[in-house]
Amino acid sequence: GESVGLHLPTLSVQEGDNSIINCAYSNSASDYFIWYKQESGKGPQFIIDIRSNMDKRQGQRVTVLLNKTVKHLSLQIAATQPGDSAVYFCAELGGSGNTGKLIFGQGTTLQVKP
């Protein structure tokens, strides 16, 4: 079946360092992936997305890398700030018929040390 997962439940980094959060997926037919940020007590917030015809996409301080060969994607956050502390989820667009249903991975908690 479809599943999206993350390698590490918690990542602790020093403020100003770069962060890398990883995600593995199992459905080789997946063609669209999204990273979400969830702060305590809030709903997920879109960060960045990538289609399977790309291997890299950059946003403001964030970069998503996609390796289809090993079914792995990562989120890189440059110059991590205290405000980046949150739980990060990767998600894939799942289901047949393109209904928009999202399948989420398990989440990585990012802790930024001042």
Partner: protein
């Protein structure tokens, strides 16, 4: 409105009682999604609507769970005879047109359901 609104913020029910959660999508968005998040962990898709029509219900438990989106009313998710394992945060998301511009699924703040 400009944000997805969910009410109530918290809901406590005794096992066996009914629970009803509400979601007001962003104005102009015709798609509504419900997800369940247990213990701050992964999200489970439940059901989606296109206006008042069920769009995808593949994640919906067949027993005890029902949902509606009626014109000019907030969408609702109802759980009959709640069980302890229904304790979770239930998120609603809305989208103008999913599957095309994928970054347009906006989430509400969630309703935390606690079943005692």
């Amino acid at each position: 409105g400009e944000e997805v609104a969910q009410t109530p913020k918290h809901l406590v029910r005794g096992e066996g009682q009914k629970a009803k959660l509400y979601c007001a999508p962003i104005k102009g968005h015709s798609y509504v999604f419900w997800y369940q998040q247990v213990l701050k962990n992964e999200f489970k898709f439940l059901i989606s609507f296109q206006n008042e029509n069920v769009f995808d219900e593949t994640g919906m438990p067949k027993e005890r769970f029902s949902a509606k989106c009626l014109p000019n009313s907030p969408c609702s998710l109802e759980i009959q005879a709640t069980k302890l394992e229904d304790s979770a945060v239930y998120f609603c998301a809305s989208s103008p047109r999913p599957g095309v511009s994928y970054n347009e699924q906006f989430f509400g703040p969630g309703t935390r359901l606690t079943v005692l």
